[in-house]
């Protein structure tokens, strides 16, 4: 029962967030710029977003209402009704959750690192960290995988696909790799 209660409270938090999103849909549509052309048929650039936000608000209210109803039922000792559909049982897995947070941090760091350090440095670092986070304990193996994997991916993405993945000031590696690559005669 406590589990069900926790789930409902999380639902309510989500409903609150979605409610803010819906309100944002009304507020942030674009107050400042003036339209260059007039919209046809009575639909302006605000019409549909407002319809979406309004519908969202309505549905979120329904959702919140059913959740609150369930909480009230449970407080009274009765079983919750789940008017709007059951959900799959949710696993609680603290290890996984910690891993998720670290993965997220790594991802954001990777994106930031791409800009600063370039693909050549960011990728092996990401690979190494992720391999470790996901439970592979053999550091040496992870390091090798990261370096070899990074090299292969670099050849694929930067060498062959020629994506613009150089870092800015902090990236000494990419020009070096570029020279090496062009020495092999490839374009």
């Amino acid at each position: 029962m406590k589990f069900e209660r926790q789930e409902r409270i999380k639902d309510l938090i989500l409903a609150a967030v979605l409610c803010l999103v819906a309100i944002g849909g009304f507020v942030f549509v674009n107050p400042t710029e003036a339209a260059i052309n007039d919209g046809p048929g009575g639909l302006s650039f605000r019409t549909l977003p407002f319809i979406y936000s309004g519908a969202l608000l309505f549905l979120v209210a329904l959702f919140a209402a059913s959740t609150i109803y369930d909480l009230w039922l449970m407080r009274a000792g009765k079983a919750p009704r789940s008017l709007f559909g059951e959900r799959m049982p949710v696993e609680h897995n603290p290890t996984a959750d910690i891993r998720r947070v670290i993965t997220l941090a790594c991802l954001i760091g990777f994106a930031a690192g791409l800009k600063a350090f370039g693909f050549a440095i960011a990728t092996p670092v990401l690979l190494f960290l992720m391999l470790g986070v996901l439970g592979r304990s053999n550091w040496l193996e992870n390091l090798l995988l990261a370096l070899v994997g990074g090299a292969v991916l670099w050849i694929l993405f930067v060498g062959i696909l020629k994506l613009p993945l150089e870092g800015s000031f902090w990236d000494p590696v990419t020009p070096l790799l570029n020279k090496l690559y062009s020495l092999t005669g490839a374009r």
Binding site: I36, N37, P175, N178, S182, R187
Partner: protein, 324 residues
């Protein structure tokens, strides 16, 4: 004596620097050249860029890569080149009106002053097309019909932030016509609408739909600039819009830019390479198939043109577009 040593050192240093710069001068391009195109792959400007890049690569012997930096509607590409290293290895390829119209109509994080012009390679006017079933032989037919059916006829343009729109507004304004302008989501959908006779007339860059014109499905009823260089003889003397009360010249000139702080010698070297590529046989062959012969304008001519175009568009905007 210290100052003599100092002088000797300074001279030596300067000689060394001069030697290095001189070495650099012969060395352009010292590495891969990246041509930034702020449009998606497959479009008109992108195709021109790739053809030019191929010619440049042949001449320079170094790789010349096209990067389609389309994020933010192209804003990312413009900002990227604006902030790039001023070594001539990163260039922006864009059309003149494609650069000017966002600057005039929107809040964009770049301005003409952020770039130095390397040169221009391809010039095409805008043209006004109509499906053959509309039965117009020239723009005046459209004007007459529009005067008898105010508010009914439609003019297709590729976007509200484009040379098409500027020309359409000027034409409608100067001829006193009440017709509706329908903006599409780019040249592709506009092309389809014109081909399918879903708009009365369409304003689009030449030489788009040239093949349909050749086949006879589409008529060219006016041109935003001279069509004398187009590869299809029959439309070369299409009347230009100044013969329809609209004394403007509206088209798009595709050219290359580098960051403003690039030193003049580097700009000149880059211009040298681009000029050779633009006048090469390969690029000329491409132009023949694409519809127009390539051109070459040096940096100054191109930059002056951009300023003039900017001013002209602002005037049209003030007179016909801004709501009173």
């Amino acid at each position: 004596m210290k100052w003599k040593t100092g002088l000797a050192l300074a001279t030596a240093a300067m000689a060394a620097v001069a030697a290095m710069t001189a070495a650099k001068a012969d060395d352009y391009p010292s590495d891969t050249v990246r041509v930034v195109v702020p449009w998606r792959a497959g479009g008109g400007t992108d195709t021109i860029a790739r053809a030019l890049a191929a010619s440049m690569e042949k001449i320079a012997g170094k790789a010349v890569v096209v990067d389609n930096l389309t994020a933010g509607g192209g804003n990312a590409g413009h900002v990227h080149v604006k902030n790039a290293k001023p070594d001539g290895l990163t260039m922006l390829l864009n059309g003149s009106s494609d650069l000017n119209t966002p600057i005039i109509f929107r809040n964009v994080p770049y301005a003409l002053e952020d770039y130095a012009c390397v040169g221009a390679v391809y010039q095409t006017p805008t043209w006004v097309l109509a499906h053959k079933d509309q039965g117009f032989t020239d723009f005046n037919d459209f004007v007459e019909k529009a005067k008898t059916e105010p508010g009914k006829l439609t003019v297709g343009v590729g976007s509200l932030i484009s040379a098409h729109y500027v020309l359409a507004k000027a034409l409608l304004g100067k001829n006193g016509i009440d017709a509706r302008i329908i903006p599409f989501d780019g040249g592709g959908p506009l092309k389809k609408a014109i081909l399918g006779n879903q708009v009365t007339i369409g304003v689009i860059h030449a030489p788009v739909l040239l093949d349909a014109v050749k086949k006879g499905d589409i008529n060219v009823i006016a041109a935003g600039g001279s069509l004398e260089n187009i590869t299809y003889k029959k439309v070369r003397d299409t009347k230009t819009v100044d013969q329809f009360k609209t004394p403007v010249e509206i088209g798009v000139v595709r050219g290359l830019f580098v960051p403003k702080s690039t030193p003049q010698e580097v700009i000149d070297q880059a211009a040298g390479l681009v000029e050779k590529a633009a006048t090469s046989d390969d690029f000329k062959k491409f132009g023949a198939k694409f519809g127009f012969a390539p051109i070459w304008w040096d940096g100054k001519k191109f930059c002056d043109f951009l300023q003039k175009e900017n001013k002209e568009y602002r005037e049209i905007k003030a007179e016909f577009i801004d709501k009173k």
